[in-house]
């Protein structure tokens, strides 16, 4: 979805659109910090524009020149975001926090069901320790996320797909455990637990995909070609 800017466009419009793109590139930085970055960048660009206008340049040309000097908005936003996150390896954005909260809830529900089933007297003899073993994979989600965050600090924690990957790892683990459990011949609520688990995981993966899609759509809606390139045509 390419939009172009007319060379006769007002200088403020050009700066506004540039700032919109810069702001979008900062979308995973907390609002207050991102606003501060934008305010600082805008003041700098406006100073460059004022300087060029004082030298006799038309406002639109001055604006284009100023943002060219400032650099590509997305690249600049990316750099600022990386710098901000450099010493915050375990920072989670709003979307990631939401995913983590959803994941925690999704694991708590089957865990509660499983504990409830353990408390039932008829299962106590056969199911003891078996359902609990199913909880072993649960810490894998934050663990995998943290490890991936350390190994790929630039991409892992900011990417919702890492959470999906962690869920898939957990599912594979549960599948293995379920296979071993069924072979053992014990009766318990483990199969029921695993069923809930898979269903809820599918829901979680769907939520992650929806969030990711919404994020991409948002980026696509405000993405446009670089004003300097368009204006120079």
């Amino acid at each position: 979805m390419e939009k172009t800017i007319s060379p006769v466009q007002n200088g403020d419009d050009i700066v506004d659109r540039y700032m919109l793109e810069y702001r979008a590139a900062l979308d995973r930085v907390p609002v207050k910090i991102a606003d501060e970055f934008c305010r600082e960048a805008r003041l700098h660009i406006e100073s460059l524009v004022a300087e060029a206008v004082a030298d006799g340049k038309p406002a639109s040309d001055a604006a284009v020149e100023a943002i060219v000097q400032f650099g590509d908005a997305k690249a600049m936003g990316e750099k600022m975001r990386q710098e901000w996150r450099r010493k915050r390896a375990f920072y989670l954005s709003r979307d990631e926090s939401l995913c983590l909260a959803v994941a925690a809830i999704l694991f708590l529900i089957p865990a509660a069901i499983s504990i409830y089933s353990l408390s039932a007297a008829e299962h106590a003899a056969t199911a003891i320790n078996r359902p609990l073993s199913a909880f072993a994979p649960v810490p894998v989600i934050p663990f995998v996320s943290v490890v991936m965050g350390l190994v790929f600090p630039r991409t892992a924690l900011r990417n919702v797909s890492i959470m999906v990957l962690a869920v898939l790892v957990v599912d594979a683990w549960i599948l293995l455990a379920l296979g071993r459990h069924l072979q053992s011949g014990y009766e318990s609520r483990f199969a029921e637990y695993a069923g809930y688990e898979f269903g809820l995981d599918l829901l979680f993966v769907w939520i992650c995909s929806a969030l990711r899609l919404r994020h991409l759509e948002k980026l696509a809606n405000i993405s446009f070609s670089h004003p300097a390139r368009s204006a120079s045509v």
């Binding site: 305010r39 650099g71 590509d72 600049m76 750099k79 600022m80 710098e83 901000w84």
Partner: protein, 113 residues
């Protein structure tokens, strides 16, 4: 040649910013960029794309500190000032830079440009 120049600049952005803040006192980003250009007679153009990430990195490392300050004319600006750690880093970097340039000068001395 351009890329060599760019490499030199990249490596010295932090040093140049600290030097300006130390000698000229607290400044906002725009003033830092202009001051660097002025002192280097426009040879060293500190691109904004390098300036703000560098300032942010130095702030994270405790070499500079920043606060929004009202300006005599115009809106409030984020003003950066060098810290004690920044001064120490600047002294180290200046020493390293001088010994490096002096060594390169010695090697280049017999060469006629």
């Amino acid at each position: 040649m351009k890329s060599q120049e760019s490499d030199f600049k990249k490596g010295s952005v932090g040093l140049v910013i600290l030097a300006v803040l130390e000698s000229s006192g607290p400044m906002h980003g725009y003033a830092i960029a202009r001051e660097v250009e002025r002192r280097s007679a426009d040879v060293f153009k500190l691109g904004e794309g390098a300036l703000y990430p560098a300032l942010r990195a130095m702030e994270s490392d405790g070499l500079v500190e920043a606060e929004w300050q009202m300006q005599p004319s115009g809106p409030a600006r984020r003003v950066y000032r060098i810290t004690g750690d920044g001064r120490k880093r600047l002294a180290d970097q200046v020493k390293t830079w001088r010994s490096f340039t002096s060594a390169v000068e010695s090697v280049l001395a017999p060469v006629s440009a």
